[in-house]
């Protein structure tokens, strides 16, 4: 038996896994299917899981595998779900002008992220939006931690290049 009843695992991690899959697929319908499948698979393997396993990282690995299969099985053209990426900043940008620029820039970043190769995109999202360790990301993507780090680096470089010639919002407005 694992450490805790599986219901507690669902309660603790379902929302985060759902959000992750929604970011990755840009669709709430897919996030629904894939997050449910993630937990059904996890449930089947739950009793065999090591007592000291990192449950959260393990769930991300299952979710990532499902996401990769999803992208493999159909060479799906991702149509961004309207509202899947949403402006969510804790700050009130200083002025309407700055706010507009902030939203534009972020929309540009989203497009670049959406256009990244799957592994780079997954590594980037796992690291930057879910703060997973590189060894956990490596396990999720069946690569070394160094490769995982390189994927994130490449993703950041592409985002940075994508913003070339585009005035970046001031640090204050995104803080």
């Amino acid at each position: 038996m694992g450490l805790q009843p599986f219901e507690a695992v669902v309660a603790a991690h379902h929302a985060e896994i759902y959000r992750y899959l929604m970011r990755v697929t840009s669709r709430s319908g897919e996030a629904d299917d894939l997050s449910q499948e993630t937990f059904l698979r996890a449930y089947r393997a739950w009793e065999g899981l090591d007592q000291d396993a990192n449950v959260r990282a393990w769930l991300f690995t299952i979710a990532t595998n499902l996401a990769r299969n999803y992208f493999r099985s159909e060479s799906r053209r991702r149509r961004a779900y309207a509202g899947a990426w949403d402006a969510h900043s804790d700050v009130d940008p200083a002025s309407p002008e700055e706010e507009r620029r902030f939203h534009e820039t972020r929309a540009l970043v989203e497009r670049v992220v959406d256009g990244l190769p799957v592994k780079q995109r997954l590594a980037f999202i796992l690291r930057k939006l879910h703060d997973l360790e590189y060894d956990a990301i490596g396990r999720s993507l069946s690569c070394s931690p160094e490769s995982a780090r390189a994927h994130v680096f490449q993703a950041l470089k592409k985002i940075r290049l994508g913003l070339n010639g585009h005035p970046l919002p001031t640090m204050e407005s995104v803080r």
């Binding site: 038996m1 959000r19 972020r106 992220v113 939006l129 995104v174």
Partner: protein, 322 residues
């Protein structure tokens, strides 16, 4: 692409890592030193800082209620999966490899495996609506208790039972009537048929017990032919039946081509009666086994709350233990 100074190219990875909060202290220090003398990289560093801050504000916001609906859908599917799930364990025993399976409701299957000692050899792999998964240590206790039972060290298996593998209401009625036959006793197929109110369904009773999904704990080994012959067990496993009956102290002797129970060495209980008799009491010795339950010992009969017959007095003239 503009050409970069080799030292700028060399430090690029560390620069990005440092700007995005992903570098160790030594990298960060190298980057700091480089930035001190390189205005271009300072600007680059600033842009990566901004990129990092920006990416951290990216957040997928599910449509209203989508998250709650997904969670509810998941919980319902999990409940269904949990209900269908049977955890199993396979272990060797003196009767051959045995599979035992348990659901959330109780023990759902006990099976003598032949043709292998993996799930593939079990009917569990082929039952619709069952999800068989290898069980954890909680099944070890059941294994121990079953082995103790087979060795005669334990007389009862007080397990909650799950009847889901019974294929019909009839089959379930047969199994429940059989489960009521006490330790150290035998009844006949015809007797079980009478007990479920279908006295002519003797062959159907035998057929139902042939597919007993819970042998041992539903003691179909205690059901014999009206002739006293053991008749059959789990297909072709008559020696197992013989062994289980012997463990319970039931005496057997060779009959015509088949082992029979030693009826004259057992106490008898008539249908609907509460007193048990010596096999020689009145006409009981000639009565059909369809109408009797036979006990190996007085203790077994009295454990069921039965009293010794006041005419033949089995309490005063017990059968010899030999």
């Amino acid at each position: 692409m503009t050409t970069k100074h080799p030292s700028c190219r060399a430090i690029e990875l560390e620069l990005v890592a440092t700007a995005t909060g992903d570098a160790d202290a030594r990298s960060a220090e190298r980057v700091r030193q480089h930035l001190g003398g390189c205005a271009e990289c300072r600007e680059e560093f600033g842009r990566y800082r901004a990129v990092d801050a920006l990416t951290r504000t990216l957040r997928a916001v599910p449509p209203p209620d989508a998250l709650a609906q997904s969670r509810a859908g998941l919980e319902s599917r999990l409940a269904d999966l949990k209900h269908r799930r049977v955890t199993y364990r396979i272990f060797p025993s003196p009767l051959g490899h045995i599979l035992i399976g348990r659901s959330e409701d109780g023990i759902a299957v006990i099976e003598y495996l032949h043709g292998g000692n993996t799930l593939g050899a079990s009917r569990l792999a082929r039952v619709e609506g069952v999800e068989a998964v290898p069980g954890g240590p909680e099944l070890e206790r059941l294994e121990r208790e079953l082995l103790d039972y087979i060795a005669g060290r334990r007389r009862a298996l007080d397990w909650a039972l799950d009847w889901r593998l019974a294929r019909s209401d009839f089959e379930r009625a047969v199994l429940e009537a059989t489960a009521a036959i006490p330790y150290g006793a035998v009844a006949s197929y015809a007797g079980v048929a009478r007990r479920i109110g279908k006295p002519s369904a003797v062959r159907a009773v035998a057929q139902a017990l042939r597919w007993n999904p819970l042998p041992i704990v539903v003691p179909c080994h205690r059901v014999i032919g009206t002739s006293g012959q053991l008749t059959g067990y789990a297909g072709d496993k008559l020696t197992l039946k013989q062994r289980l009956l012997s463990v319970e102290g039931i005496k057997l002797r060779p009959g015509r081509g088949d082992l029979s129970i030693a009826r004259d060495a057992m106490y008898a209980l008539g249908e609907g009666e509460t007193e048990y008799c010596l096999p020689t009491c009145g006409s009981i010795g000639t009565r059909s086994l369809a109408l009797l339950t036979l006990f190996a010992s007085r203790a077994d009969a009295e454990a069921r709350g039965l009293r010794p017959c006041t005419s033949c007095r089995p309490d005063l003239h017990p059968l010899s233990a030999a």
